[in-house]
Structure formats: structure tokens, C-alpha cells
Amino acid sequence: MDLLLSSEDLAFRDEVRRFLADSIPPGMSRAIDLTTAFIVDPDVLIDFHRALHRKGWSVPHWPVEHGGTGWSPVQRYIFDLECGHAGAATYNASGSHFVGPVIIHYGTQEQKDKYLPRIRSGDDYWAQGYSEPGSGSDLASLKTRAVADGDHYVVNGQKIWTTNAHRANRMFALVRTATTGKRQDGITFVLFDMDMPGITVRPIMGNGGDHEFNEVFFNDVRVPISNRIGEENKGWEVAKFLLEFERGGRVLAGQVRAQFAKLVQLMIARGHDDSDLRTRLAEIGTDLDAMEMIDISVLSTLQTGGNPGPISSLLKLRWSEIRQSIAELAMDAIGDEALRWFPERPLYETLQLPPEDEEMAAMVPRYLNSRAFTIMGGTSEIQTNILAKSLVGL
């Protein structure tokens, strides 16, 4: 047993570093540092994504035959960590990490040919339509109705919390195709183009001042049945596959560690001798080390072909908390600078401050937005319910 990187791993790391140094466009890191929303604007990331695409690295975790890199889990971990340090971010996880793997697993050849290349290249930008006003944690109660009419479904209903629906040109969604039987057995997974007639998007302003979330209304939207992924009424299975892939297959340690290093930098820059803040910083560090060790154990399991098991809910739960604690400490570290509020977005376009003061402007919005980490993508309460069964055996 050991934690050693092999010489191939080290060579790979150097290659990644070289690539990042060469490919990150000027201004991208600043724009990401001043992004207060969850998701960095596609405009900021598209050039870098295209560079990744040219290098063949835009979807590393996909099977090689669909454009994946065939990297080992350790290599993916290295790549994520280095991207974090270099100030890079994922272009469109809804495409590359959510719907992409679903299409690869469940899609027809036509669907694969149509959608996968455009995810790889960044030509498509995807949104996810799962939650509804009455269906959050209890997702299976969703009501958006799809009724077959010839070779189309006619869809009526509403989605909510649809991140970047206003920027996406495509959207995958769960819709109800049957109202009898078990609720989970009447759900179907369907792909939409955002310009289909009858789709309207209404913004929801976040408390942090960002516009990320939307309501999406479906009014007699006609979507071809050929846009269905998997069988009718089997959408719940597809959604579960997506969640498992997402939770078990992605290693957050790199990204969070990069954020943590930035927090350390901030605290040093502020010359902090506040012992309470330093205690919190150290506690976050030990939390992060422990969680990274758990992440690495998952990597090791994946590397050797195993199934990481119920740990995925634990990772979601704890990583979201650690990310919150980083955002919270960053806010507390700037003292009464946190009183200032800059309502315009994006900050990297609107701010008119000296460079050394800029990052202060991002801290409070980022803190406020961070509260959603433990809500979106499965609340901590739901993760805890799952863990009570799966990890504790209750």
C-alpha cells in the first residue's frame, strides 16, 4: 500500500502543466476568480474548452471510442488538480458529465452521432430539467406531462432550478409519460432543443446577485419521440445511472484543494493573526486531507475495477460542506470589507477596483451562493437519509 505517484504519473503531470500554461487564455483566470456563481459563463470558458478539444482532452472520462482519453483514475485526479491550480473550470458539466455518459450508455447510434461530437467540441451547451415546483427532494412526484401524438410527444408543464437554461441551446429533462402504477415507472428521459416552440425561460435571481437558475415552461411543446433516451417509462433508471456516474466517477479533491490554496493565499495577503480564523483554516485543511484520502480510496477502487459503494453520498455531503466552509471563511477573512455589495454581474466586466481589492467583491456573493451546495443535486438531508440505509445499515 502506498500513495506514490509513478514516474508515468509524474510525466503526465508535467504534460498537463505544460498544456495548461500554453492553453489558458489571458483573462480567463481572473474571470473565474471573479465569478460568484456556481457555473462559470460559457463565454469565459469556450476558448479553453476548444483548446482541450483540439488536444483531445475535452471529455477525458468518456470511453476512448467516443473521444475519451483512457486516463487512469489517478491521471484524472492529477488533471483535475492541475486545472484547479491553473484556474481552469469545466465548460459544461451538464453536457460532458451528465447527458454525455447517458447518451453513450443508452443512446441510439443516431443520437450518439448527433450529440456527442457537439458536446466534445463545445458547440452545444446543455441544461438539466429535473426539479419542478412541487418536486424537489421528492423528484419522483414530477408532473410535467408528455403525451404521445404520432411520432412526437406533446409536453406541458414546468421545470425549475434549471441552471443556465438561458444560455443553453439544449436541455435534457424527465417528463411523465404514465400516471398509473408506481410513480417512478411513469417517467421518461427526453432531449429538447431550447428553441422549440412553446418553451419559455423565466429567470430566478439568486440571493447572491447572480442569475443562474431559471424556470422553464413547456406549453404544447412538440418534441420528436426520437429525442427520447432509453425506453418510455424507463427514465428513472436513466436518471439513476446519471447520478451514480456523477457521484462515483468524479473526484472533487483537486478542485476543492485549489480553492483551499486560494483561501490560504487570501488569509496570508490579509496578514491574519486572528487565531479563531486560523483555527478554522487548519480544521478545513484536516477535513480536506481526510476527504481527499477517501477520494483516493475511491480512485484506488475504480483503478482496480471495484465499485465504490455507498461512499458516493458521503462524498456529496461532505465535499459540499467543506466547500461551504471555505467560502464562509473567505468571507470572514475580509472583515468589514464584506459590508460592500456590488450588485452588477458579471464582476469581471463591471468592477472598477484596483486589482488587489477585486477579489473582496466576490466573497459575499460566493458565500451566499455556496449555501446551495448542500441543496442542489440532492440535499444533504436526502444524502443523509440514503446513508442511514446504505452506510449505517438502519
Binding site: 426539479s131 412541487g134 424537489g136 427532494s137 421528492d138 412526484s141 425549475i160 432550478w161 430566478i204 435571481m205 439568486g206 440571493n207 447572491g208 446577485g209 437558475f213 486572528d274 479563531d276 480564523l277 472583515g335 468589514d336 464584506a338 459590508l339 460592500r340 455589495w341 456590488f342 450588485p343 459575499v364 451566499l368 451562493n369 449555501r371 446551495a372 448542500t374 441543496i375 442542489m376 440535499t379 444533504s380 438531508e381 443523509t384
Partner: protein
């Protein structure tokens, strides 16, 4: 010892509640916050008509002679309704300084305009860097320094500026907005209120600008700041109470898995915890309010204690309230978002939660103080 609210207290609470419920909903807050000035002239006029702008001033100055409890009641209503007009800056801080330090002539010259809503004040006190100094000149003083977090600074017609006099003195200077050498750099605060950085670049004021001619205003400044902390703590308690109620109400109506989420025991226990924090915060604010007429040591302990305790409660309550609301709690659609930001501002104004906890800790690091109960001789 008597903790019963008197009839006039109940009447004040109800009338404040009635007015604000009618006139000041969350859309109004958002509208005013997004406006150029961050306050509403009409609302301010109503405050004057209701007598609120004269609430704490002595009857001989034309005020209503309200005590600390009345002020706390009004502030709690302001917190509950997220009122962002610069009441604290003008009435409690600025007006409070004039009432405490001003001569009869000064009080009569300045307070009526405040009470009529014609004049707003701000207290420029926190130093950005080195202490602001007042240098005596032939016909007055020259002020030099930099102030920060000047609440209500952007809308103030007159600033009250604290400045060192000689080696040990401290004076409060009445500085009209237009004074040459005075720069007010405004900004919007996280909760929509306005504040400013203030630069004094050899700002010249006449000898009469020294409030009350008092060169030893340190004690009065401390007392006014303690009043402001107690008032702001009542405001925070108003916000905490509202946020807890909103969360419980939401949990009772939000249905998931076929039942209101308020039925889930894990959530019930967490709602109990935030409700208890509300009760504790309310108690800490009440102690601060009632301490204001007591000796200096008790005032300092009670106000720093309140800031430390309520700040801690506020943080965890706003976080839990958002979490218990779920996704809707992270938006600006509900007043919840406004409360969270109001409470963040509370945590930082007049010294942070941690700073006051440290001060409190230093005070009780004496078994005699630590062993003294709250009832006062």
C-alpha cells in the same frame, strides 16, 4: 426587577407593526435598495409624522422622551421589515451625540430638523488607518484623517466627525456636507443600506463646530455606540424572529413525499434549535437594552455580550433557514435572502462578532465579574 412591557410599549409595537406591514413589504425593500439613494423620502416623512424620528429625544428638546425599551421595540420592527432608511445613523447615532453632548443652543439648532425629517446625520467615527486629528487653527479646527463604515454617510446633510484633540482629548465636530476638504465616497452595503468612506483632507471648521465645546467626548461616544449596538441588536432579533417564523411556516406548507416536511423529526429538531437561538438572541438583546441605564461595566459587558451572542445565533439561524427552505431559500424571491444579508451586516457593524467576543472574554476574565448575575444594585 420588572420585565413587563407597559401599555405604551404594546401600543408602539402594534403601530409600528401596522404601518410597516402595510407600507414596507419585501418588494419595497428591494425597490428602495436598488434606488439611487437607498432611502425613500416619503417613508422618511411618515417616520417623522409618526414621531419616530423624535422618539428618543427629551421632551424639552421637542422629542417624545422614549427610553431604551421603546427604541428597541421600534428597531425590532425595523429588523422584521428590513427597513433600510438611515434611522440608526440619523436618530440613534447622530441625534444621540447631539443630545448627549450638545449645548441647549446646539440641540435647538439641530434636533428639530432631524425630528421633522429635514436633516439626516451620520457619525464618522471608525478610523481607516491612523486616528483622525483636529488641529487648532486661528479661527477653528482643521480636520485630517480617513473614516470608514460611516453608516448613512451618503445621505447625511451633516456629519459628526470624531477627532483626536491634543494628546488625550476627543471631540465631536459638526461638519456640513459641503465643507471643503470633506469627501464622502458612498457605497451600497450587503443589505441595501448605504455607507461611506469619508476623507478629511484639512477640512476647516469653525470653533463652534466642536459639539458642546467638549474636548473629552470619549465617554459619550462609548455610551452612544453602546446604544447603537443595543438598538441594532434589537433589529437583528427582529430579523431572526422573522426568519425563524418564515422557516416554520414554509415547512408546514411545503409537501414532499406526501406530507409537509415539518413532519420529519430530523427537521423538527433543527427548527427547535433555531427557535431556541431566537429566544437566546432576544434575551441577549433585552439584557443589552436594559443595561444601558446601568453602570459602565455592565453596559460594556451586556452590549459586547449581545453582539457576540446574537452574531453567532444570526449566522447559524440564517444558514439553517436557507437549508430548511431548500432551493427557494437561495434566491431573492423571498424576504429570507434579505434577512440573511441584514444579519451578515449586523455581524460586522460596530465591531465584528469575534471582536466583541474577545472584548467580552477580557471582561469576564475575572471571577468576580464572571460570578456577577444580571440583576443590578
Amino acid at each position: 426587577m420588572d420585565l413587563r412591557y407597559a401599555t405604551e410599549h404594546v401600543i408602539l409595537r402594534e403601530s409600528a407593526e401596522r404601518f410597516l406591514a402595510e407600507r414596507y413589504d419585501y418588494r419595497t425593500v428591494q425597490r428602495i435598495a436598488a434606488s439611487e439613494t437607498g432611502w425613500d423620502r416619503e417613508v422618511w416623512g411618515e417616520f417623522a409624522k409618526l414621531g419616530w424620528l423624535g422618539l428618543p429625544f427629551a421632551p424639552e428638546d421637542g422629542g417624545n422622551g422614549g427610553g431604551t425599551v421603546e427604541l428597541a421595540i421600534l428597531m425590532e420592527a425595523f429588523g422584521k421589515h428590513l427597513v433600510i432608511e438611515p434611522y440608526l445613523a440619523t436618530v440613534v447615532l447622530g441625534g444621540g451625540l447631539i443630545a448627549a453632548l450638545g449645548s441647549t443652543a446646539e440641540r435647538q439648532a439641530m434636533l428639530p430638523a432631524v425630528m421633522e425629517g429635514e436633516c439626516q446625520l451620520a457619525f464618522a467615527h471608525e478610523e481607516r488607518d491612523v486616528p483622525t486629528r483636529a488641529q487648532r487653527t486661528n479661527d477653528g479646527y482643521s480636520l485630517r484623517g480617513g473614516k470608514k463604515v460611516v453608516l448613512g454617510g451618503p445621505s447625511a446633510d451633516t456629519l459628526l466627525v470624531s477627532a483626536r484633540l491634543g494628546d488625550h482629548g476627543l471631540g465631536i465636530f459638526v461638519v456640513p456636507r459641503k465643507t471643503h476638504g470633506l469627501t464622502v465616497r458612498s457605497y451600497r452595503m450587503v443589505d441595501g443600506r448605504r455607507a461611506a468612506d469619508v476623507d478629511l483632507n484639512d477640512a476647516m471648521v469653525p470653533t463652534s463646530a466642536l459639539l458642546g465645546g467638549n474636548e473629552d467626548a470619549g465617554g459619550a461616544v462609548e455610551a452612544v455606540l453602546q446604544r447603537a449596538i443595543a438598538a441594532l441588536s434589537a433589529d437583528a432579533v427582529g430579523a431572526i424572529g422573522a426568519i425563524v417564523k418564515a422557516t416554520v411556516d414554509y415547512a408546514k406548507t411545503r409537501v414532499q413525499f406526501g406530507q409537509p416536511i415539518a413532519n420529519f423529526q430530523a427537521l423538527q429538531h433543527r427548527m427547535v434549535r433555531i427557535k431556541i437561538k431566537e429566544e437566546e438572541a432576544r434575551a441577549a438583546a433585552l439584557f443589552a437594552t436594559l443595561s444601558l441605564d446601568g453602570p459602565a461595566a455592565i453596559r460594556a459587558r451586556a452590549t459586547s455580550g449581545a453582539k457576540a451572542k446574537i452574531g453567532r445565533c444570526a449566522r447559524s439561524v440564517h444558514q439553517e433557514a436557507i437549508q430548511l427552505h431548500g432551493a427557494i431559500g437561495t434566491t431573492d424571491e423571498l424576504a429570507l435572502g434579505g434577512y440573511a444579508k441584514r444579519l451578515l451586516a449586523y455581524e460586522l457593524l460596530f465591531g465584528s462578532t469575534r471582536e466583541h467576543l474577545r472584548r467580552y472574554g477580557a471582561m469576564i476574565a475575572d471571577p468576580k465579574v464572571a460570578g456577577t448575575g444580571l440583576l443590578m444594585a
